[in-house]
């Protein structure tokens, strides 16, 4: 049985309802993160690697402690109204704790960009201008309830040289506390400042607002969760935000498409995992091949239990389809429903995607070079995919190793955000006495 002392707040905090106390707590956490970030920026890569490996080892060694903490979360889960699926995502097992440890070891093995020269110029006057990769500083990460995200986010932020303030969902609070406690101990053991990773130790929703008003200590806020959370963070934050809005992803089947390939890509994009942001939510089919493609596509989707909501032409060709509303085309279903529309041309498909899509991931299936070029140039999304599943827009699949989210912004980071996207740069200029004329 884990001792009660284990769950004592990491910072001694009188959780009085007084806003000033909460505000002071948040300010102190942020200042501690800032101080840790100064140290972190100077750490050698090997120190961060040693920490990640030690943390993985400790997580495995203290698996029982984590499972006991997780048990408390599971007991409380029905009280939070969690669905069975959500409870399953919350549940830790020995295997899942091991998977968390393995993920830390994988981040340990990734390249460390900090200090690398990104770009270099020698000016005619002899000045050497080097653009050097540096950490962003302090990341405020607000996320929902899966406990593995706690460890993943800590690993990737600190690997990029940043301190992180983790604000997880209350549903996983005990599990996250246990994991963070172990990660912090591993930090102390290996020469990483413990405050590199801090878990916000109150479930008071006001705390998020307090952190969002500390731009002098926090360099970026990253919300990951439902649209409401992201909109709230974007509206309140006084520091930059990396947003991950909806994924209303499209598969467009062009007149020059291979029908088998198109069916495979469509089914994989829609059905391989329905509840995720890079799953397809809308099918566009060129009119010239609609009568050949739509019936077979519909059959393949129906076998997976997917309902089709289509325009008039789709409903003619697919008797089981129901009529789509305007709103359907703008909806991220995250479940067994797909909207469908027959388009008269590639241009119409692109227009439809840029109007209804969310700039996340959109795919074309075609064997025509001009169609592929036009689609990839004109569709304004974080990833545009030719002849492959939308499901590949992912840090792991793109080879980034790990990701903290997929940005639907264009500013600073777009698409999967890995270690590099959590960095900035500075110019280091070397001269030999140059003055400006």
């Amino acid at each position: 049985m884990v001792s009660d002392a284990f769950f004592t707040p990491m910072k001694t905090l009188d959780k009085s309802s007084e806003a000033t106390q909460l505000s002071e707590y948040c300010r102190r956490v942020a200042q501690q993160a800032k101080a840790a970030s100064v140290e972190l920026a100077q750490l050698r890569g090997e120190t961060k690697i040693a920490w990640l490996r030690q943390a993985a080892e400790s997580l495995r060694a203290q698996c029982d402690t984590i499972l006991q903490a997780n048990e408390q979360d599971l007991e409380a889960a029905p009280g939070y109204g969690l669905t069975d699926a959500a409870i399953d995502r919350l549940r830790l097992t020995t295997e899942r704790v091991d998977a968390i440890a393995v993920a830390l070891e994988q981040v340990a093995q990734l390249g460390d960009p900090i200090g690398e020269v990104i770009d270099s110029t020698v000016r005619p006057n002899g000045l050497v201008i080097n653009k050097i990769c540096v950490p962003l500083g302090v990341v405020f990460f607000v996320y929902e309830s899966r406990p593995n995200v706690t460890a993943d986010a800590a690993a990737i932020c600190v690997k990029a040289g940043n301190a992180v303030i983790l604000r997880g969902g209350k549903e996983a609070m005990h599990s996250s506390q246990a994991i963070v406690e172990i990660i912090r101990s591993a930090a102390t053991e290996t020469g990483v400042p413990a405050d590199a990773v801090q878990l916000v130790d109150t479930t008071d929703r006001e705390a998020v607002g307090h952190f969002l008003r500390l731009p002098e200590s926090i360099d970026v806020a990253i919300p990951r969760g439902g649209e409401g959370l992201i909109r709230r963070v974007a509206a309140e934050a006084q520091m930059p935000v990396i947003k991950h809005f909806t994924g209303n992803c499209h598969v467009y089947v062009d007149t020059a498409a291979d029908m088998n390939m198109a069916t495979d890509i469509l089914v994989n994009s829609k059905c391989q995992r329905m509840g995720v942001c890079n799953a397809a939510e809308s099918l566009l089919v060129h009119a010239d091949i609609a009568s050949e493609f739509l019936p077979r596509a519909a059959k393949a989707l129906e076998e997976k239990g997917v309902e089709i909501r289509g325009d008039e032409r789709t409903c003619e060709l697919v008797p089981a389809a129901i009529t789509a509303t305007e709103e359907d085309y703008a909806t991220e279903f995250l479940g067994p429903t797909i909207s469908a529309c027959v388009v008269g041309s590639l241009a119409e498909a692109i227009e439809h995607i840029n109007r209804y899509g969310s700039g996340h991931t959109d795919a074309i299936v075609t064997d025509n070079l001009t169609s592929a070029q036009t689609f990839t140039a004109q569709v304004d999304s974080s990833a545009v995919v030719v002849n492959a599943s939308t499901r590949f827009n992912d840090g792991g699949e793109f080879g980034l190793g790990a990701e903290i989210g997929i940005s639907t912004d264009k500013f600073h980071a777009r698409g999967p955000c890995g270690i590099e996207e959590l960095t900035s740069y500075k110019y280091v200029v070397h001269g030999s006495g140059q003055t400006r004329k």
Copy 2:
């Protein structure tokens, strides 16, 4: 005499005081910019080059028109309370109009990054992941009164494939209108959408607030001017902002410095142009060389009419120095005053800079390798300079060709913002039927 029709608002706008009309005007301008940005993103580089050259030619050809418009601004200037120096910056001459045209021709010659592959990976499953440079979209640029900035900003934004909404100071309104009218005509003549460049055609301060609430149409806001303007834009903007806060720049003279080089660099950093952001505002001197260096530094500064505000030790060594307050160390003087402090160590110098500095530009003069390495690693500024003047932190001096400002942010862009800093990227993925396992 220029006809009155020339100054008719570009958009037919009943400048009623009703907020809704202003709001609708701003929305329409933003939507026109967004529509233009879609076209701009697909333009070939040669079209943008042709536009810039045509614009330069037209500016020269219609120099008289510009000078007449400028005359109206100059006549109104005393009414705005402009100083003689400010009026001089506002004044255009044939030579200055030619310089504006030359600047456009220089931007024409710069490389065009749009469409370039920034990074490329081939995944084990054969997927080719290309990271492609794309424009940001729409830039909202808010600036003060110099008319050449109008043309410079238009050129650099559009070269990077962005549409720009220019909101200049009222003091240069007629000059800017004349310049923008010519630039827009050149656009139409060369196949660039005219709405690539729009000048906000009202001096109502409320207009800025309206634009800052249109994140769906505007991708980034860039304020350039006084601290009040920048703070207002940062606080109100619902889209990302590239901020250019104060430049409280330091020169630190290390124990291993060459005294002549240190004096030259100090004087150049402080005096080559006092009113600019990358001018030095504070001098730090290592205690071991203070008695040797400070008197000669003071003499050189006094010859340029610069007052020194120093700590106790500085005042001992420099009789003319007056005692510095805490606030002096945090002040961007932008004039003939410099703060000075004797520090006991390199570490103390770094701590001083990170506490009082503004993260803009800081220089060390030293011949010691470890000092140089420590300083460049630990000073957290957009540019850290070894043995050269702070005045080099500039887009032109760094070889970026042109800049829209110098960012004191860490997010997206840090230091001089040239064409590349006004771009984003998308992932273009090429497959041959890959689906996710």
